[in-house]
Subunit: 283 residues, 2 copies
């Protein structure tokens, strides 16, 4: 099937999907987004993702279609793609709209909604079985990370740095405390208890993070605490793992050049990872 | 004359100027920009603006044409617009390029260069003669403000807040010290000496800021110091003014609900403003 893209209510051929040079998303990073995993044609936690989009848009006063409409449009678009029967993902972006360039946004602009489906981008099995390396860098981002905005320049620079260091992810540290990865949340395990930084303004409240906290940990009888994690505590943890839509539950066995968690995928992480697989592949 | 836009070497009708939905500028704020004032058909400080663009691009590892080429293209485009004989401005944006969405940017992408000319947007004379109000808000931006990137979401939110409060600009404060406005630098005057925050990573080194420091202040025999300015010191200054390409040299007479500088445009600010007018309108 030829690739198709959703643009403002229309489903069009990929190559025709262009936006105006004065779309505020292009000139000001004035927009929000979501990435939704599709398993066997079914979006995972679609409502949660779209609720967060509505929330992010509201925080920035961007006009946003109501949740029900977003759900319908997402499903309608999905049905027109290659991913209506298989694994994939949908990238969804909502920008404030098009106007003559000016910082202070005019009220009442018509927002621009784009969706594009693609392969899920599952990570190699070895990452989950053997664990990955991360690096730690200062958190250079703005102070409203709880909004899932397209102002991702600090994130991409951090991710590139990770790649350069042959690491899976850069985990960021602000004032001595761990915040999150450039595109993933972070957890540690201490004596069987899961600990993750609280969802302050410095953190994006990830859907996979919430799935671990609200669905999987209770199901497995694991306690979860939301606590600030100092860098020293982080490095001394029994286990470390990352969560994210395509990161799933990813064990970490090396931080910078230092082995953590005895260089092995811990039991708790493995349990969570398997439960996450089960949950997502059997919906 | 019909509006024309520069897009990757071609000068095309405005309505045809679109970019791909997977331009990284649109999905990640992965780009840099400049706004260049045109006075009577001549770009002001063109080389300085383009040198800064080259610098910003290098900081982000974005492929950038060499300075000479940028100058030529800018002049060639300008000659095709309405602004080759009158006042105007050129907005110039360089993004990393187009690729399938992924945080860590691939090396060797072909960058995308867009230019669009428009009216200069001169501010009302009364702003300069009578002074303007500003508001102070916490600086929510990332820690690499010295790069002139299109990741301007915090800036537009700050500017909108100013508009809502019937103010000209939001000046930002980080850890008790003034940094800059959402689209302007800031100076104070103490006993005839100009003081402005040093060009650290928290500040964009404005071309108008440099023009005041390097051209106008020496010409007028005024001393300039680059010093951190605590909020209390800021509020007690004899005079306060903003600088920027379209802000020019803008006197401030009110901060939040408090009158500053006795509510009058100070002599030093007036001198600088007149000198800036002279410099820009008589090149």
């Amino acid at each position: 099937m030829k690739q198709k893209v959703y643009l403002n209510g229309e489903i069009i051929p990929r190559e025709k999907a262009t936006i105006d040079i004065e779309d505020r998303g292009y000139q000001f990073a004035d927009g929000v987004y979501e990435v939704i995993a599709i398993y066997q044609g079914k979006p995972f936690k679609l409502t949660e993702h779209l609720e967060r989009l509505v929330f992010s848009a509201a925080e920035l006063e961007i006009e946003c279609p109501p949740l029900e409409k977003l759900e319908q449009e997402c499903q309608r678009y999905l049905a027109s793609t290659d991913y209506s029967q298989q694994n994939g993902k949908i990238y969804l972006q909502l920008t404030r709209g098009v106007c003559s360039r000016t910082h202070a946004y005019p009220d009442g602009l018509e927002s621009v909604l784009v969706m594009k489906a693609g392969p899920l981008g599952e990570k190699p099995e070895s990452y989950f079985k053997e664990g990955v390396k991360i690096i730690i860098r200062p958190d250079e981002r703005w102070s409203r990370c709880y909004v899932k905005s397209i102002a991702l320049l600090p994130n991409i620079m951090a991710k590139k740095e990770a790649k350069r260091e042959a690491a899976y992810e850069t985990v960021m540290e602000r004032d001595g405390f761990i915040t999150e990865g450039s595109s993933a949340n972070v957890f540690i395990v201490e004596k069987g208890t899961l600990i993750t930084p609280p969802a302050t303004n410095y953190i994006l409240k990830g859907i996979t993070r919430q799935t671990v906290i609200e669905d999987i940990a209770p199901q497995k009888g694991l306690e979860v605490k939301e606590e600030s994690i100092a860098l020293t505590r982080f490095l001394a943890a029994d286990e470390i793992f990352l969560t994210g839509t395509t990161t799933e539950v990813m064990p970490v066995i090396q931080v910078n050049d230092k082995e953590v968690a005895k260089g092995q995928v811990g039991d708790v992480t493995q349990t969570l990872y398997q439960a996450y697989r089960q949950l997502t592949r059997s919906q």
